[in-house]
């Protein structure tokens, strides 16, 4: 057990070092949320004036939306990295060492979690600098960040599974571009649920992106509804566990195809 934990740490460290040594990648993953934040922030500034929107400033409303959207969009590319490791022979090299298979998979999850966490905190801080108000305090923000990490795990694991199964960049690119915007807009990321068409609101109930938003927003409000936080958060955790389980399974099917 302690070996697995040690090995998970070695492999996580390797991935984090790789990210830090590619500054272009870092800058892009941080600049993109900034663009969302200030573009959407300016464009939709006045939607809060719509009757029934229910938020003081649009920036307050937007920050969790951008945090969650960024968690989805950065994690859904995880499969590209896995694919690259397969093509380069790195994965096979590790598979011929005694490293625990769980450590290989866990390292992906831990690395993605750390990256998503940092990205989320940066967005929250940028929002604060821009004048956003967080009435739920640190506890609320923490829940938002946790929800975005768990949501990121879901998409990261699916993306890894996809990368190992189809072994084609085009498929990952295609599915990601197809999914990102519908999943974001079929949620309360940018628009208050009360103002969404009713069919969209019903679809959103089944959208994990929306679960993260409901849990995060509720925790960040002045008067959190902990029932909402727990139910959505619990559903997200269950889904993440299922996704990681699935990607571990496809890992085995990869080994059969070697």
């Amino acid at each position: 057990m302690s070996t697995t934990i040690n090995q998970t740490w070695f492999m996580t460290q390797r991935q984090l070092t790789a990210i830090l040594r590619q500054p272009a990648y870092l800058v892009i993953t941080l600049i993109q949320p900034v663009i969302w934040l200030f573009l959407f922030g300016s464009l939709f500034r006045r939607v809060v004036e719509l009757p029934g929107f229910g938020a003081g400033s649009y920036l307050d409303y937007l920050v969790p939306g951008v945090v969650v959207m960024s968690a989805v969009s950065s994690n859904m590319w995880a499969g590209m990295g896995t694919l690259e490791e397969i093509e380069r022979g790195t994965l096979n090299r590790f598979l011929t060492t005694p490293v625990s298979r769980a450590a290989l998979m866990n390292a992906n999850v831990v690395q993605q979690g750390i990256s998503t966490g940092i990205q989320s905190v940066v967005i929250v801080l940028l929002g604060k600098i821009g004048g956003a108000d967080y009435p739920g305090g640190v506890a609320g923000l923490l829940i938002l960040v946790l929800a975005s990490i768990v949501l990121g795990t879901v998409f990261g694991a699916f993306s890894n599974a996809l990368g190992m199964l189809v072994r084609q960049r085009e498929s990952i690119i295609g599915i990601n571009t197809f999914l990102l915007l519908p999943l974001t807009f079929l949620s309360s990321a940018f628009m208050a649920p009360g103002l969404m068409p009713s069919w969209m609101r019903h679809v959103a109930d089944f959208n994990p992106v929306n679960w993260a938003l409901v849990a995060g927003r509720s925790a960040m409000s002045a008067d959190p509804d902990w029932g909402d936080v727990l139910s959505r958060g619990g559903a997200l955790l269950a889904l993440a566990a299922a996704a990681v389980w699935l990607s571990t399974r496809t890992f085995r099917s990869y080994q059969k195809s070697v």
């Binding site: 070996t3 090995q7 380069r88 022979g89 790195t90 090299r93 011929t96 060492t97 005694p98 059969k256």
Partner: protein, 343 residues
């Protein structure tokens, strides 16, 4: 001669990939401990699949594989601890430095602390990467990267080292350097090396024993000399100053065929050819006999059979042809008409 069990023993390996591609068809190989063994064959012959099974990456449909005394199918973990693998594709992390790659590799095998650092530095020095070890691997040349790959495979002091196509894609200079390095490794105490290659020259130069692989199984095995020896001798070609007439021709053939170990004497115009068990030793006799017949000689050449000839004999086609058509190498039995080419 040796009483220790073989370092690698695989029997009756069968493996079919999805799409009915038969990669292995009764593959078997036995490598004595402490030796260098070469699997020689064109692309698609099944060498890499064999290595993947022996290194626990892939599982065969049936058959057995024992590596370093452990069953590769039942106890892959024990095998993994005992082997070092240098795969066809590099697998080094390009963003990490050479030294970082080595350190991580060591840690995965449980090497720690001072021993870990010492071993990494020792290997960097040995493979002429002491300076480069501080740089990211993506800045390396092909040869440097390949040397790092071998160092990675040696990090935990394995009993058996697998080298899958170690020099493919290297320029001639880097290839020669790699050959020297592998030659030195072979001298290491107790290290067993299983090498795959599709270069005849490489197998001939590095391996003590060679198995020729074709269509998923071994078609011939032995030392390079044994394999060449099975072609029954060297080719002796003599060019005469002028073509003898029919009567002289018969006399010449009869005279030469009397020597022990010389056969298949053939005369075609001015060109006389024969097979001899020991070509160089037969030359003086051949020349004396010709002189006694009053035939003047323009030139004599002796050609040792190459592994290419061996391959032609056992696989029924020229090595280069088989290599050029790897897809064709996988399915289908040998067409009847090509077997005539293997004399």
């Amino acid at each position: 001669m040796t009483t220790s069990p073989p370092a690698v023993q695989a029997r009756d390996l069968m493996k079919t990939y999805p799409g009915d591609v038969r990669a292995l068809d009764g593959m078997g190989v036995t490598v004595a401990a402490g030796t260098v063994f070469g699997l020689l064959g064109p692309n698609g012959a099944g060498k890499s699949t064999t290595v993947k099974i022996l290194t626990t990456l892939a599982r065969p449909d049936s058959g057995t594989a024992v590596v370093a005394g452990h069953d590769a199918l039942r106890h892959p973990d024990r095998v993994r601890r005992a082997i070092g693998v240098v795969a066809q594709r590099s697998g080094a992390d390009p963003v990490a430095t050479g030294r970082e790659n080595l350190l991580l590799q060591g840690r995965l095998y449980g090497v720690r602390g001072a021993d870990l650092n010492r071993r990494a530095d020792e290997l960097l020095a040995r493979f002429d990467l002491a300076e480069a070890g501080k740089r990211q691997v993506r800045t390396y040349s092909g040869g440097m990267q390949r040397r790092l790959d071998v160092a990675l495979g040696l990090m935990h002091r394995p009993e058996v080292l697998f080298l899958d196509e170690p020099t493919t894609g290297l320029d001639p200079e880097a290839r020669t350097a790699m050959w020297e390095e592998i030659g030195r490794l072979a001298g290491d105490e107790g290290l067993t090396i299983l090498l795959t290659t599709h270069y005849l020259e490489e197998a001939d130069r590095l391996a003590e024993r060679i198995a020729i692989v074709d269509r998923g199984r071994v078609v011939a095995e032995g030392t390079p000399d044994e394999l060449k020896g099975e072609l029954h001798g060297d080719a002796v070609h003599v060019e005469l100053r002028e073509a003898p007439d029919a009567v002289d021709g018969t006399l010449i053939r009869t005279a030469l065929a009397e020597f022990a170990g010389v056969r298949e004497v053939a005369l075609d115009g001015r060109r006389l050819s024969a097979r001899a068990d020991d070509g160089p030793a037969a030359v003086p006799h051949v020349l004396t006999a010709l002189e006694q017949q009053g035939v003047a000689v323009a030139s004599v050449t002796v050609a040792r059979p190459s592994l290419d000839d061996v391959y032609l004999r056992y696989a029924g086609r020229r090595f280069a042809d088989a290599d050029a058509a790897p897809e064709a190498a996988v399915p289908a039995p040998v067409p009847a008409n090509t077997s005539g080419a293997a004399r």
